[in-house]
């Protein structure tokens, strides 16, 4: 074993490792594969693998015991579904083409719900940002309109779905509106707060440098509030999906919400669970895209320690 290190000096970690190896304790083959100058990498990787194994074990235990308990009729699969049944149901949904549901193919239902959620999301986000910036930059406006927005926020907005349904029929519009209303408040409050947190020095500096009101909003206020706004978008998309689904449950001609109510009425819990899984996958995909967008828009930010620990 070579005692000469390429760096020409020996760190305490290296020394400990060498001593251990001399005693034959850690003389395993992976010690040779990992470059000796960075034992930290190996420790970090081992930790990652450990976490992954624990996660897989947890899933197997949870789903396995569900399957086991329903198979042995300890709990009734008629009410609680069964993992194997859910898997079969998912298979049926995606293989039976236009026969998959009473209202056409399963993909059409996904498309309907996704369209409603995305349009609602965009509509709610844009109006939320516009109102947030307007009220955040004008103390007078925020004093006047602020209480009304609070009152409106206190209304259980899901109920608005019924009103939209009566007013706009069974099409996609009432769902889009319901999703937009739910998204609006999340984005609005964040945009408002973000605008109010803009550094006064930065604002004054821009004013003294000769910036017009529009330039201040474009170059200072909005970019500054963007951290807040983008943080809200993660929650907001979840709300958009909820809005679209609830709208469909209340009354629709197609969509995942309709699939869920139909499955419910047919005492088919597997159908409900299968659709829930599909919705979860959609939301996770949206979350992934939003995170990419966030990284891109906020690439100027210094890496923060909290980000490393984020889930």
């Amino acid at each position: 074993m070579s005692e000469i290190f390429p760096g020409g000096y020996e760190t305490p970690l290296k020394a400990a490792e060498r001593a251990a190896r001399a005693e034959g304790r850690v003389a395993r083959p992976e010690d040779r594969q990992v470059p000796a100058n960075n034992p930290g990498k190996r420790i970090a990787r081992r930790r990652k693998v450990k976490i992954l194994i624990a996660q897989v074990v947890l899933a197997v235990v949870l789903i396995g015991s569900w399957q086991l308990l329903t198979a042995t009729k300890v709990i009734d699969p008629f009410f609680y579904g069964q993992p194997s049944g859910i898997a079969k149901q998912l298979g049926n949904y995606f293989t039976q083409g236009s026969q998959a549901t009473e209202f056409g193919s399963y993909w059409t239902q996904i498309e309907t719900t996704l369209k409603e959620a995305v349009f609602g999301f965009i509509l709610g986000t844009v109006t939320g940002i516009v109102f947030g910036v307007a009220l955040g930059t004008s103390p007078f406006l925020s004093k006047v309109i602020g209480p009304y927005i609070k009152v409106f926020n206190a209304i259980p907005r899901i109920v608005l779905g019924s009103i939209f349904l009566v007013a706009f029929g069974l099409g996609q519009l009432p769902k889009v509106l319901l999703a937009a209303v739910l998204v609006f408040f999340v984005v609005f409050f964040n945009a408002f707060q973000g605008v109010r947190e803009v550094d006064r020095n930065v604002l004054n500096n821009a004013r003294v440098l000769g910036a017009s009101k529009m330039r201040i909003i474009r170059d200072v206020t909005v970019p500054s509030a963007l951290t807040w706004i983008i943080a809200s978008l993660h929650t907001a998309f979840g709300f958009a999906i909820v809005g679209a689904l609830v709208g469909e449950v209340l009354g629709a001609q197609s969509g995942l919400g309709l699939v869920i109510t139909t499955a419910q009425n047919q005492f088919n819990p597997d159908g409900v669970f299968a659709t829930m899984i599909v919705i979860a996958v959609i939301t996770l995909c949206a979350e992934f895209l939003l995170t990419r967008l966030e990284r891109r828009l906020l690439s100027w930010r210094p890496p923060s320690p909290s980000e490393a620990a984020a889930i």
Binding site: N201, N204, L209, L298, W300, P302
Partner: protein
Amino acid sequence: MTALSGSAAPGARIEISGVTKRFLTPGGDIFTAIEDVSFDVEPGQFCAVVGPTGCGKSTTLSLVSGLDKPSEGSVRVGGKEVDGIADGVSFMFQADALLPWKTVLGNVALGPSFRGVGKREAEAAARDWLRRVGLAGFEDRHPHQLSGGMRKRVAMAAALINEPRILLMDEPFGALDVQTKAIMQTELLGIWEQLRPSVLFITHDLEEAVALADRVVVMTSGPGSIKAIYDIDLPRPRGAVQDIRFQPEFLDLHQQIWASLREEVERAYARTAGVSA
């Protein structure tokens, strides 16, 4: 350097006469920040304002910049009453006023860009100014990647790129360590001697005031008013700020002004200590 002296904007006179500024607190009380303040800054003069905490130094600056309006009295810049943000005025703050999402180049180019200069032209001017403050090669960095002293240089370039007739500085070097502070002071003097804008410089640091300024205004606290005005007749160019401090004339002036300032500082301290105790 011919382009430099050719483009230098001449300083403008600042006349502050009988100015009082009152604020309405949220509780409906009236708070007088400064009362009957009068002093002038001659064109191209470097004027420092010293005083205890809370004596309305920053209020005075915001009145000159046009960010705020006086309750009474008048502030005139270049013979014209200040009404809103005046042209040819630049501000440098103690805290960073840089946009963290813009690069160094983008930050410096803001001044001309806000005034409607095209992007390419604004960036060319910004590059030139970054070179002048010794930051060539750092154009694409973001502010958080720079040290405190480097950020100050960026702020200085950003403030000077519009070639102001008036430069307002609110404790610009207050947050810097002693060595960096001295270097920045020397550099500020160098640039000021080339451009000769009128400077109104606020500081807590009497040494800094005497070393840099032609005139030192001492303010009293609560409400702020003028206690005394001293003319500093140390010869110019003064060179490195670190060396001026040991000249006998400097020490003499410093002592005189400190005698006047000390009372105010002690009075203000007793009051704040009394409130917080």
